[in-house]
């Protein structure tokens, strides 16, 4: 019976080559993503300079915009630059799922408890 668990000259490294035409396409995509990242960062900085901080609805919307833009930038870096987008779906899940689960929970609990503590502090003083 032919064994299929051996990797014989079939390693990822040797098969990851691509031709000049494919390369040109990849490079085009890289420059596109560079443009997007630069644009998003510029937008963030402009908003940071222009809007004055205050306890208003506008400012909290701006804060959320910063966070969403950051996540968009992070997605571009991870999926295109780190080419996680081209990996097998199992690897993608193994990398992203634990992270989202643990950090999502940690952020939720820390921020809730942080503000909760502040509320309790104000109530008692």
């Amino acid at each position: 019976m032919e064994r299929d668990d051996l990797i014989v000259n079939d390693s990822y490294a040797l098969n990851a080559h691509h031709s000049e035409e494919e390369g040109a396409k990849i490079r085009k995509n890289i420059w596109k993503v560079t443009g997007i990242l630069t644009l998003l960062t510029t937008a963030e900085v402009m908003m940071g300079i222009y809007f004055k901080r205050a306890e208003t609805f506008t400012w909290s919307m701006i804060k959320w915009t910063f966070i969403v833009l950051t996540l968009v930038k992070a997605a571009y870096i991870v999926l295109v630059f780190m080419h996680l987008g081209d990996e097998r779906s199992n690897l993608k899940k193994v990398i992203l799922a634990p992270y989202m689960l643990f950090i999502g929970y940690l952020i939720f609990i820390a921020i809730t408890e942080g503000f909760g503590h502040l509320g309790a502090f104000n109530a008692f003083h």
Binding site: Y12, A13, L14, A16, H17, H18, S19, E20, G23, I26, R27, I30, W31, T34, L37, T38, T41, T42, E44, V45, M47, G48, I49, K52, R53, K63, F66, I67, L69, T70, K73, A74, I77, V78, V80, F81, M82, L91, I95, P98, Y99, F102, I103, L106, I107, A110, I111, E113, G114, F115, H117, L118, F121
Partner: protein, 296 residues
């Protein structure tokens, strides 16, 4: 490499979450990024966020050159790999240099502050009245603060001169110069700042306590009541800077191997891809640090 990055990402996630927790549970106002970080090397005046934006851009560009090096590796194009990796390393050095300047500026501060020893009511230059209480910080300008620090430490060649026009600090000797107390600033880092000058400024100066802060260190800082602000800044940006530094070192090692033709003989450039992953990760972390330290 991916598994290492996941664990490292958890570390940074934990650090930034800790920062968020302390900030959310803080009773005193938290400093505003664009009012703390608004200096450019060699220039007077205020340029909020421009310098950090530049640092962010440098890191993004070096990430791009890295991904181009990886792409060239897939075509076994040694010369292009050398070119793009070389540029990546230069970008890394630029970022490290910028961060060194940023730290130095953060540590030296811009004038320093003192806390009030009693309650004072003052009117700012634009006519607003402030009822300040004991313990509130008041900020000095860059020139006055520069002399105030050694003067407080008892430097023999610096003295305080009082005249009808107010007070000034005078340094004699080798670097003789002087700085007058033109105006003081309120709420410098926590909301829209106000300037107080003339007799009103003297009221604040006369109500000063012994507690002064200049820049930031591990014990106190001029930016915030909370020392944790400076501590988180030092730890998170320092830990990230250490990652950048090790990234540059690893990049240099692989760069030398590329030049020596190791990967050409191996017929693939997978090592370039692996260090590339690490380098992108460093960029990724900075994107988050940038948002949570400087913008939000």
């Amino acid at each position: 490499m991916w598994y290492f990055l996941v664990s490292d990402a958890l570390t940074f996630g934990g650090l930034l979450t800790a920062y968020g927790f302390v900030r959310a549970s803080s009773e005193d106002a938290w400093p505003i990024g664009e009012q703390v970080f608004r200096a450019l090397p060699g220039l007077e005046g205020e340029y909020p966020l421009i310098y950090v934006a530049l640092m962010t851009f440098i890191l993004i560009v070096s990430s791009v050159t890295m991904v181009l090096a990886v792409e060239a590796g897939h075509r076994n194009d040694k010369n292009s790999v050398v070119r793009w990796m070389g540029l990546t390393i230069i970008g890394g050095f630029f970022f490290l240099g910028s961060q060194a300047w940023e730290w130095s500026h953060f540590i030296h501060g811009s004038g320093g502050s003192f806390l009030l020893a009693e309650n004072v009511t003052v009117t700012s230059d634009d006519g607003e009245t402030f009822n300040l209480t004991k313990g509130d910080p008041v900020f000095m300008d860059h020139h006055f603060g520069h002399l105030a620090e050694p003067w407080l430490e008892g430097a023999a060649n610096i003295s305080l001169v009082e005249s009808d026009h107010g007070i000034k600090l005078v340094e004699v000797g080798e670097h003789s110069h002087e700085a007058a107390l033109h105006s003081l600033t309120l709420n410098k880092y926590i909301e829209n700042e106000s300037h107080v000058s003339g007799d009103e400024a003297m009221k604040l100066w006369n109500a000063r306590s012994e507690t002064f802060a200049f820049g930031a260190n591990m014990h106190d800082n001029e930016y915030a009541i909370q020392q944790s602000y400076a501590n988180f800044f030092f730890f998170i940006t320092g830990f990230h800077g250490f990652h950048v530094f090790s990234g540059v070192v690893i990049n240099i090692i692989i760069f030398i191997m590329v030049i020596k033709g190791v990967f050409e003989r191996r017929k693939h450039y997978e090592m370039v891809e692996k260090v590339g992953l690490y380098w992108h990760f460093v960029d990724l972390v900075w994107v988050f640090v940038f948002t949570f330290f400087y913008l939000v």
